[in-house]
Symmetry: C2
Subunit: 218 residues, 2 copies
Amino acid sequence: MRYEFEHVLPADIESRSFAIIEEELTRMGRHLKEDEAPVIMRAIHTTADFDYADNLVFSPDAVRLGREALRAGARIVTDTRMALAGINKKRLEALGGEALCFMGDADVALAAKKRGSTRAAASMEKAARLYGNQAGDEKPLIFAIGNAPTALVSLYELIGKGALAPALIIAAPVGFVNVVPAKEQILSLKNVPYIVARGRKGGSGVAAAICNALLYTI
Amino acid sequence: MRYEFEHVLPADIESRSFAIIEEELTRMGRHLKEDEAPVIMRAIHTTADFDYADNLVFSPDAVRLGREALRAGARIVTDTRMALAGINKKRLEALGGEALCFMGDADVALAAKKRGSTRAAASMEKAARLYGNQAGDEKPLIFAIGNAPTALVSLYELIGKGALAPALIIAAPVGFVNVVPAKEQILSLKNVPYIVARGRKGGSGVAAAICNALLYTI
């Protein structure tokens, strides 16, 4: 048996993939907003799941504000080592930014154990302590959450008590327990830009893809 | 507005998630084979995408053979740093195994450039050179491919010419260009155990989840 391969140069695979995604969206009758299209298409590119054409919810101007934050040398804090691995650090660092994940830190594990919370929640508290409103830090802060709904709950609480004012929250945990309400809480925020993968779907790959979509269109 | 959160202890979130997945599969009338169930359910857990109940194709005894390889201290070679980050190295190393990704290696980049191939293909050739049939290495070799169809094409060729005899191929690249035929080629292999995410879907998270499903059920 022979298999039908397309002859595409390595350097052209990504643009060919995006052309196919665009074709299929058109065939589905989906017309994406110009600013949101690169983000949605990269999430589809990462998952081959066209549900992301419907799932991704953007607060007004989220894409522009996210890009501005990155241009200003944003710190991206994520809740998984996989998302950390997936974010294009070269691009990020060229803009003066950095990507951080505190999930493996001993103090985070200890804090979570002490309080019976999760390491993800303790990670967000550590981010607030280091770079939040009290820290006198001038760099914008982006959260890219790909796994833990408890990270989102923690962010919601920290924002509520004025400890954090993120430049953008990318809310893309995946899962079956408390993922949906944790995302809905983020969607209820009035003064914080967000990109939310509504529903159960998401993941570290999606969170990283959204960061990269913003980085690649600067 | 109030959001409905379930009260689940951090340590119980995963088992509660699996119970929900099982319920929904039952409601869908899907009955998974006993050996395949933990792998399929963990892929769904990682993506919230029930398509994996239909997508994942196992060669006979693939799960048992994969576990045996891991118990014997297998090396897992992957094509992405994200999958590398997602594999539970603690469990793997406790069995005497290790996880490797050559994608960032300078010699791999050079070899790919020289031949106009991809770094993923060159990574597989490096794995064959280091740990293949000519290398006199006794550890079983598992490939966990989450991104590049060219990695699968390269594995197919290396197996064809007798340079490699993997204990298991986890074939889960995601995408739109040559992903489907590259997976079909792996499905045509007669003497190599495989777990293939048939179709376009997959990803680093899925590849890592399949590794972890095997590790967690040893």
